[in-house]
């Protein structure tokens, strides 16, 4: 993963609330088997409307999206984060995010920045004309007009973002602890890995 320290530039001054994952990327785009290329489907239903913010040439390619409460609600589909990433978005600023979406955003190097509604309203105004900057070093969002909004991030996730760390690799390094837990499990809850589970099921006629 690419390290993310600052995200600066134009921002989509959108502000819409309760943007669900079906809006971010409609289900018919989910049929891909790779991560790339989903930006084309991002916000398809919004883009179908004339005058929408995403097709406004003023904001094309913005690395920041400003949205309202409860961004990314709905399904757990990570395609939402891939779609945003594929359209070049590296930070989303909103008053709140769905839990699952913000987890997915982190894992794909997108910073979910939680700011109070007033700050988000202000940034929507600023973004109509000027650039916005999200700085993970100082944990602030700033504008050319002396605005300075502090935010917080889980320290571990912040470190992963800033160093571009791969979470799977980090956890695999904890192998001793995981193996120890599995030994405990075999002893105290043998039915979890019990023989009754192994391969009971079920290969259909069509398995290739």
């Amino acid at each position: 993963m690419e390290p993310v320290r600052t995200v600066s530039g134009k921002a989509y001054p959108w502000g819409a609330k309760n943007v669900d994952t079906d809006v971010i990327i409609p289900a018919h785009w989910l049929k891909t088997i790779t991560r790339a290329g989903l930006g084309r489907g991002a916000f398809e239903t919004v883009r179908a409307q004339p005058g929408n913010v995403f097709d406004d040439p003023d904001y094309a390619g913005s690395p920041i999206l400003i949205a309202g409460d409860n961004f990314g609600c709905g399904s757990s589909r990570e395609h939402a984060a891939w779609a945003l990433g594929d359209m070049g978005i590296k930070a989303v600023i909103a008053p709140s995010f769905s839990d699952i979406f913000s987890g997915n955003a982190f894992k794909n190097g997108i910073v979910p920045v939680v700011l109070p509604q007033e700050a988000v309203d202000r940034l929507v105004e600023v973004a109509k004309t000027d650039e916005v900057s999200v700085d993970l070093e100082t944990m602030t969002v700033t504008t050319p007009f002396q605005d300075r909004f502090p935010f917080s991030l889980d320290p571990f996730r912040r470190q992963c973002l800033m160093e571009g760390l791969d979470e799977v690799g980090l956890t695999l390094a904890r192998d001793t602890a995981i193996s120890k837990y599995e030994a405990m499990l075999d002893e105290h809850r043998p039915w979890i890995a019990g023989e009754s589970n192994a391969r009971t099921v079920v290969e259909g006629a069509g398995r290739t």
Binding site: K17, N18, D20, D22, V23, P26, A27, H28, L30, K31, T32, I33, T34, T45, G68, D69, N70, C73, G74, S75, S76, R77, E78, H79, W82, S96, S98, D99, I100, G103, K107, D154, F156, V168, G169, T171, L172, R174, A177, I178, Y181, E182, R189, P190, W191, A193, G194, S196, N197, A198, R199, T200, V201, V202, E203, G204, A205, G206, R207, T208
Partner: protein
């Protein structure tokens, strides 16, 4: 050390901590991982790229469901029929390829046990009380009905679980939703969960794991509990749980992957210890009087837009909050509804009985009881999609398929079907569907499709009357 009373969630969480970090996040062991074709290809791709293996194939179970057409899968000679949609076919064959390369237990599209992941898990005895269950699908919360801590994850987490059998998580807050009293005539588990979501709101559960308690939940079958827990995510909650009890154990016993012999006794003893201790406290408690729950449905495009079937379409002005007023107006425009209209006067063109919320045998029985001796109204297309091949067989053994087909319903092969617009089962733009699924979002059942969420019996009532209808008037 005297310990404070703990909730079900706290006990299951504590039993799965591999390591706790200073900041409170924990490496949590995952006992059960369900995999389907939509959210897994990129995870396997990631493993392959990094030269990693699946750590515990024996704790993993893969089954295709989202993309599969619900029409016949084999021809008269038993040969597999090709899937017309090229991208769907690619995802399905990628799953076959991946499970074979990574040696993951797999229920194929052509196996009798195939079905929707959240129907198959409990049905096979793969889902057990006190386990952690994950799947790359948000309605994984359903498995909490058996007392599991079960939640949806994204594809990077799917990859993480495949490689490490763990997830790094922060503990959630706890919410008790207690439903007490006596449910009225014709009120189903779906009405209960719709009432709960209507009360706490679509974001009301954000940051929480809900535990459903109270006599109404205790008296519910496991299938009803699955319907309730399934929609926890529609209240914004990470997961929903129900304490395992004798009803749960009776449901699990003898299922193919359930513990057997001495393991069974040991397991039940442990499961019994998981119920929340007397005096355990929750961060929030919501109490709902069962007598106030009516057969219900949604009118808008959020699952919190719940109204009784005897009600009318609300006016945006009736909401105190400005953003809610705006959202209501948008919903009404999308749904093509006018405030003040009686819901029972709203005609439907489609009826969908299925999805992981309501496609188990009890759901089909409830719908069949309404359909029996009646006929689908003119101009309505009604389909019944069993949640698994085993549900389908059971229904056929009980003659439910004959009831449906005689009444003019389509009787289809198991899968997610019209729950989401991903396979050929879609609602055309501007048309209206009475659906037993769990999401009424804009475009969920197809671009421009209008969805009303309701129970299987209410869906059947809509099918035979041609409009949204109060099922109580059709019940004996």
């Amino acid at each position: 050390m005297a310990s404070r009373p703990l909730t079900l969630y706290e006990k299951v969480w504590a039993a799965h901590v591999v390591e706790r970090r200073d900041d409170g996040t924990c490496l949590i062991y995952i006992d059960r991982h369900l995999v389907h074709e939509v959210t897994s290809p990129q995870a396997f791709e990631g493993l392959r790229a990094a030269g990693r293996r699946v750590r515990r194939p024996d704790l993993t179970l893969a089954v295709p469901d989202h993309n599969l057409p619900t029409t016949a899968r084999v021809d008269a000679e038993g040969r597999e029929l090709p899937i017309a949609d090229a991208e769907s076919a690619t995802q399905l064959s990628a799953l076959r390829h991946n499970v074979s390369e990574f040696d993951v237990p797999y229920i194929d599209a052509l196996a009798a046990e195939q079905g929707i992941v959240h129907v198959v898990g409990p049905e096979q005895g793969f889902t057990l009380p006190g386990t952690t269950v994950v799947c790359g699908d948000s309605h994984t919360s359903a498995h909490g009905a058996l007392g599991a801590l079960a939640f949806g994850i994204g594809t990077s987490e799917v990859e993480h679980v495949l490689a490490t059998q763990t997830l790094l998580l922060s503990p959630s807050k706890t919410m008790e939703v207690r439903v007490e009293g006596k449910l009225g005539f014709g009120v189903s588990p779906k009405d209960v969960i719709l009432a709960i979501i209507g009360r706490i709101g679509a974001a009301g559960g954000t940051g929480y794991v809900i535990e459903y308690t109270g006599n109404v939940i205790r008296e519910m079958s496991v299938e009803g509990r699955l319907t309730v827990a399934n929609m926890s995510i529609e209240a914004g909650a990470r997961a929903g749980m129900i304490a395992p009890d004798d009803t749960t154990f009776a449901y699990i016993k003898g299922r193919p992957m359930a513990p057997k012999g001495a393991d069974w006794d040991k397991a039940v003893a442990w499961w019994r210890s998981l119920a929340s201790d007397p005096g355990a406290t929750y961060d929030r408690t919501v109490i709902i009087d069962a007598a106030e729950i009516a057969p219900a449905l949604t009118w808008g495009t959020s699952p919190e837009d719940v109204v009784s079937i005897t009600g009318t379409v609300p006016a945006p002005d009736s909401f105190a909050d400005a953003s809610k007023r705006e959202a209501a107006q948008k919903s009404l425009d999308y749904m093509g509804l006018t405030p003040g209209t009686r819901l029972q006067d709203v005609p439907v063109q489609h009826v969908f009985i299925g999805s992981c919320t309501n496609s188990r045998i009890e759901d089909l029985r409830a719908a069949a009881a309404v359909a029996d001796g009646r006929h689908v109204a003119d101009g309505v297309r009604a389909m019944v999609v069993p949640g698994s091949g085993l549900v389908k067989r059971q229904a056929e053994a009980e003659g439910l398929d004959r009831i449906f087909v005689t009444a003019g319903f389509e009787w289809r092969e198991p899968g997610c079907s019209m729950c989401l617009a991903m396979n050929p089962d879609k609602v055309p733009p501007g048309e209206r569907c009475a659906s037993t699924s769990n999401r009424n979002f804009v475009g969920r059942q197809g671009p421009g499709a209008r969805t009303h969420l309701l129970s299987p019996a209410m869906a059947a009532a809509a099918a035979v009357t041609g409009h949204l209808a109060d099922v109580r008037e059709l019940m004996g």
